[in-house]
């Protein structure tokens, strides 16, 4: 058995008592999708920012193991090392594509930025790669020179995913990637995501408050409340047989349309 790609122990970041994220233990294994669910203010997004190095923990340890088997202590790492990892080994998909895209740069430029950031200097190759990735996320490659602001919300989100996956990161963090999209667009995005995740064998940590998204995508779930993880387990296990009282309420609150 390989080692976990990301391993957190006692990870904490508290803004105020019970505000933030407290003593979280988490292992992310290669090729696995971990869902983090919970209500607003439960610390989901804080945990995601801690795991992805966007914020530093107050306490605990966080070890990332890259593809080459090299370990990085993200709590001790220099800012330069963390930013390098974020550009190469991590993907970060924001809830609002406007946070993750450069709106005044064409779709091709958005996808190519990471490649150029790690030293690609051949225009033709960068463009070919951008075009290939547009097709991967089901955007017509003919729109490579269009600005993201002329794309629909769902397309922007798919573009953001392509922009992150182009450097083949081992670990992708997503914060509510389907938030703000209508149901049919959401379904298509989830299809795309699922296909990419299994084709590429990447690990994903996904934050969502949508139990449907969690059930479709996640192999394993963490349920958070008041900054703590109150229940973990396989997705089906947690959703079909919730143990904690809060999780039972959460599962019961899923709208049943029949």
């Amino acid at each position: 058995m390989r080692d976990p790609i990301l391993s957190a122990r006692g990870l904490s970041r508290e803004y105020a008592p019970e505000q933030g994220c407290l003593a979280v233990d988490l292992d992310v294994w290669p090729g696995e999708v971990v869902g983090i669910v919970g209500e607003s203010g439960s610390g989901k997004s804080t945990l995601l920012r801690l795991l992805s190095g966007q914020e530093r923990p107050d306490a605990g340890s966080l070890i990332f193991t890259d593809r080459a088997g090299q370990s990085h202590d993200l709590r001790e790492a220099s800012e330069s090392e963390i930013r390098h990892l974020q550009r190469t080994a991590f993907g970060i998909v924001h809830q609002n594509p406007r946070d993750g895209l450069r709106l005044r740069i064409s779709a091709g430029g958005n996808i190519g930025e990471r490649l150029m950031g790690i030293g690609a200097r051949h225009y033709g190759e960068i463009r070919a790669e951008a075009s290939r990735w547009l097709a991967h996320v089901e955007i017509d490659p003919a729109r490579i020179d269009d600005l993201p602001r002329h794309f629909s919300g769902g397309m922007q989100q798919r573009l953001q995913i392509a922009r992150n996956l182009v450097t083949n990161p081992g670990l992708v963090f997503m914060d509510e990637p389907t938030g703000g999209l209508d149901v049919s667009v959401q379904a298509r995005l989830l299809d795309t995501l699922k296909r990419l995740v299994y084709d590429l064998g990447i690990s994903v940590v996904i934050v969502t408050h949508d139990m449907g998204v969690a059930r479709l995508l996640a192999d394993r779930l963490l349920v958070m409340r008041f900054g703590r993880v109150i229940e973990t387990g396989l997705t089906d296990q947690v959703l079909d047989d919730p143990q904690a009282a809060y999780t039972q309420q959460l599962v019961a609150s899923i709208l049943q349309v029949s």
Binding site: R87, R102, G108, E113, M116, G117, Y123
Partner: protein, 282 residues
Amino acid sequence: MSDTVTHYNFAYLDEQTKRMIRRGLLKAVAVPGLQIPFGGREMPLPYGWGTGGIQVTAAVIGPDDVLKVIDQGADDTTNAVSIRAFFAKTAGVSTTEVTTDATLIQTRHRIPETPLSSGQILIYQVPIPEPLRFIEPRETETRKMHALSEYGVMHVKLYEDIAQFGQIATSYAYPVMVNERYVMDPSPIPKFDNPKMHQNPALQLFGAGREKRLYAVPPYTDVISLDFEDHPFEVQSWETPCALCGSQESFLDEVVMDDAGTRLFICSDTDYCRTQQERTDA
């Protein structure tokens, strides 16, 4: 030129200010291409007219210096004439229009065609010193990007040019890599002048008055224009030679002659053009 005025300090600025600017310049020379903040002073001309350049000139000029000032290559435009007169008046230095006679050249938007030599100082007026500004409005972030050499976005700009226009359409303020470390905005000189910065024997100083930044390229430093392997850096070229001196090697300005669309291409560097004409006349 009028006589030197005595109620101002030598070269207008007080000695403490000059000391502060020189200290910044030393740091700038020590770390080629790095932007150094300085306490910019109000100068008796508006921002955008060369307040940065004029402060750098004031800080480094001495009584024995010979000053040349050019604006878009020309010695005889309002800006160039005023700044030259300013230093003739406040520092009593002699001025010239001949590139080879000058020890100090303050410039806006051009590098002289005549090659500079060791011992000369070229001072650029800079409007926006930050090459990353177009993509990143936060100063804290651009500083971090420089510190960590995160320069991928500079190529995104060039990528966008090729995607839109089929070629790198950036024609002035073309970004350069200095000494294999810092990406620098060479001020709005045409990219035609970029190769002249590379391994230049003269000291090149840059002053941005509004943004209050100094930077420098010491003599014989590598200055490489960014490009792609399949779209290499190229300078502008013209189909006709200069209409006045016949030069085929200099940067040409287009001059509209009448309302019928007649146009003329002439050297932007007036001193170079005159020298070329004298050479052919002789």
